[in-house]
């Protein structure tokens, strides 16, 4: 069936470096994508979203890139900080549905 997945289950980066977290999706009918951050013991927290009519969107220190041709989504975090250590999820919503389908999550570990 349709699925959302992540290329790397864990990612370790040094403080100050840029991080890139990748996500592949298989439902070409998806029209909305979100990145969430989940810290230990907490609920997922919205980071940034993008609609399918865009290919890039920037927030504060974060950028989401969408490549619909290859059905790929990425989250770039600039100047990664220890507080960025968390599990990151991408999620997508099919244009015909209401539910968000979440990917498996990537654990980001920021080392000093």
């Amino acid at each position: 069936g349709e699925s959302v997945g992540l290329h790397l289950p864990t990612l370790s980066v040094q403080e100050g470096d840029n991080s890139i977290i990748n996500c592949a999706y298989s439902n070409s009918a998806s029209d909305y994508f979100i990145w969430y951050k989940q810290e230990s013991g907490k609920g997922p927290q919205f980071i940034i979203d993008i609609r399918s009519n865009m290919d890039k969107r920037q927030g504060q220190r974060v950028t989401v890139l969408l490549n619909k041709t290859v059905k790929h989504l990425s989250l770039q975090i600039a100047a990664t900080q220890p507080g960025d250590s968390a599990v990151y999820f991408c999620a997508e919503r099919p244009s015909s549905g209401y539910a968000l389908n979440f990917g498996k999550g990537t654990s980001l570990l920021v080392t000093p």
């Binding site: 609920g43 927290q45 919205f46």
Partner: protein
């Protein structure tokens, strides 16, 4: 002020018992959700209510029954608890489900342990 709150935060119970988890949101949102997160951190939608009406009902055992007394509350009742029900359950809310901004706000989660 807490936007989406859940009670209890931890719930330990024995197999066969019936338990409820409560959720409240003070964001004025029309849509609320229940998700289950397993031990591998995989998040899966279970139910969604829009203006107190059930709109998403994924394949979950009918031992799970959501109840929405009003737009601000969505409770989850679980009958005859099984070991496999152990997980973290998250409540979430969002604006009107057809809204172009589809950001969902999550509660802190309820860790359910069935022994």
């Amino acid at each position: 002020d807490t936007a989406v709150s859940q009670t209890p935060k931890y719930l330990v119970t024995q197999m066969g018992n019936d338990k409820s988890i409560k959720c409240e949101q003070n964001l004025g949102h029309d849509t609320m959700y229940w998700y289950k997160q397993d031990s591998k951190k995989f998040l899966k939608i279970m139910f969604s209510y829009n203006n107190k009406e059930l709109i998403i009902n994924e394949t979950v055992p009918n031992r799970f029954s959501p109840k929405s007394p009003d737009k601000a509350h969505l409770n989850l009742h679980i009958n005859s608890l099984e070991l496999g029900d152990s997980a973290v359950y998250f409540c979430a809310s969002s604006r009107q489900i057809a809204s172009p901004t589809y950001e969902q706000y999550f509660g802190p989660g309820t860790r359910l342990t069935v022994t």
